[in-house]
Symmetry: C2
Subunit: 377 residues, 2 copies
């Protein structure tokens, strides 16, 4: 039996109350995602300075009208409401922020954690799968989950009907983490409100969204990156050819997580996705030891912390002139392009190109894709 | 779609009627298996000379009583009976002997082929599996077989109930080969007599055993080496943890054949064997294209013919003295030992050691194992 020790924690940082409010304002403002948040804080040295810079950046990026900036009052109200519900607000870099999640390049700056946050410091494995699970799939999930729980793993899943719910239920007592697509007050599906109450006794429910955020379709793939990001490996139990679980598997692969899949009959449509993953190199799982054997060396190795960002450059080096900006914008189109190409074709420094992209993004005109690609909206 | 050409044929040899009778007598004599047959023919330059040498070899090997030598009359009667039934008797090395099968080190010297022997010259793939197949397993076998048949493959199987029968039935019209564990007049299971009649219209049934040989338990694994030996690859559809199909898979691996397995639910005992094979590196099959894609390059490469045996050495070089023989025998025990070790420890030449082993084998005192290991019975 594996007896994993605690995962190493992230760099200990502790935000002041003011900083926490600034972080919350910045991440809740229009056109600011986790990557832009990080770029801005790195570029301006802090959330407060970034907030001050936002209107200028949006203007230079060509925003039709300036994006909404979350007000200090709104941030205070949200923080108060969160705390009133006993939910902890953990910032990227603080003790208590899940170490593995901190390593993904779009880690949420703030995570609302309800329940026992200590579970986030344990080795975690994600178990996800189809909503319309077969009886056999649910039964297998139960056995696999219990065995992995008994081996010391916390179980991460997405609170969906079917496989997800079976995984949570079978790890209520050993510890499980439900990652929400919406806010803590908009549990989806609604019939799982009671399940979350059970989960948070020994485990946790986490969300990066505002308390009352009603999850929309596109919030689920976004959420899936957190499921795989938290875990050392992701097990897919039953998945049809096109299914959300396969998105989680792809994200897990991109994040360097181990991908596991449970096989099934070629005649079972619920196994098409998982069999396909195995053909593509996912590790086949028929019992918990398959997962444990593959993850043991990874957990033993500890975490590779990401390279630190360089010191913020002086503004003269990164402030583009109007000609430079126009040239870079002219190179962009709805077809995704890479940063390297933009640097080469515009004959500018990477720092200048990055600033222009930041401006465009804040102006709501830029979309970021995987692999560092960007396109105009 | 794959349109495989004919497989290259083996070296064209044609036995005279007398030689064929000698071959039949030698392979049907006591203690002579396919490997010993080959050793004897190589050692003495032909089956006739080997038959003459047998009593002396058995005596020197310490046989309690001499093994039975199949008489010329018996051989004539068998050959006549075979021909009366329209069955062809193909010898190793003759045109019409399956080229891939000729490459395994225990290829049968004579093969009784009923039906269209031309199918043995086509690219073949074996499909085998559990006798108590599930409905889904049978259905999948049917689809896979039809698709591989349509792609130009002949389908080899073992005529058992369940998956084997489903594979034969789905390739009656495109061509299928039933490999029998007993003789042509002892079809097993008996209820498949009519199936064989259908098989031989466009395909063939083959056996290395005498016409009236009733198959015993140990004849089935022996037969399985022919199933894998004939084929470029072997697909296992449904197999429990310990099953005959896994023996075929192991033999296929040892013979350098591609091993394929069909996945199933971890809760389905019929999938334990196949899932295990995939974990060990078998190629996962959920559709015919998985098999075709893996076999296409192999078929395109043609066959690597085995290295030729050296010229038979002069008898002075290979005839052991009594001291040498005693020394080599003293090194043997019921624990399997390798030829290299026997040569080193006895300080004899490999040719001398081989002769002593041949004597012991013909005396019924030696057992040969995989990997060139031998032990005393």
């Amino acid at each position: 039996m594996l007896r994993p020790g605690d995962e190493p924690g992230a760099i200990a940082l502790k935000l002041s109350e003011e900083q926490r409010l600034d972080w919350l304002r910045l991440i809740r403002s229009d056109n600011i995602g986790p990557r832009t948040f990080r770029d801005l804080v790195n570029r301006y040295g802090g959330a407060r300075a970034a907030l001050t810079a936002l209107p200028g950046l949006a203007r230079r990026g060509g925003a039709a009208r300036p994006g909404r900036i979350y007000s200090l009052d709104e941030a205070r109200t949200e923080l108060k409401a969160i705390r009133a519900r006993g939910i902890e607000f953990v910032a990227l870099g603080e003790t208590g922020y899940p170490a593995r999640l901190a390593m993904i390049d779009d880690a949420p700056p703030l995570l609302a954690v309800r329940g026992k946050s200590s579970i986030l410091g344990r080795p975690l494995v994600a178990i996800v799968g189809s909503r319309n699970a077969s009886a056999a799939g649910s039964k297998f999930t139960q056995t696999l989950t219990s065995d992995l729980g008994a081996a010391g793993f916390g179980i991460v899943s997405g609170l969906a009907r079917g496989i997800d719910a079976a995984a949570h239920r079978a790890s209520i007592s050993t510890g499980t983490v439900a990652v929400l697509a919406g806010g803590h007050e908009r549990i989806y599906p609604p019939e799982h409100v009671a399940l979350v109450d059970e989960i948070v006794v020994e485990g946790a429910a986490i969300s990066e969204m505002p308390l009352a955020w009603e999850p929309r379709a596109r919030d689920f793939p976004r959420r899936n990156r957190l499921i795989s990001g938290l875990a050392a490996g992701v097990v897919i139990v039953e998945a049809a050819r096109r299914s959300g679980s396969l998105i989680t598997a792809r994200m897990a692969g991109e994040q360097g997580r181990e991908v596991f899949a449970v096989p099934g009959s070629p005649l079972d449509p619920r196994a098409e996705g998982t069999n396909g993953l195995i053909k593509q190199g996912a590790i086949m799982v028929t019992e918990a030891s398959d997962v444990i054997a593959a993850l043991e060396p990874i957990l033993g190795r500890g975490l590779d912390l990401p390279a630190r960002e360089p010191e913020p450059p002086s503004s003269a080096d990164v402030e583009p002139g109007d000609d430079e900006r126009a040239r870079i914008v002219s190179l962009l189109s709805p077809t995704p392009a890479g940063l390297d190409d933009l640097v080469r074709l515009s004959q500018n420094t990477p720092a200048i190109v990055r600033t222009v992209l930041l401006e465009l993004e804040i102006a709501g005109r830029l979309e970021r894709h995987g692999g560092g690609l960007v396109s105009l909206v």
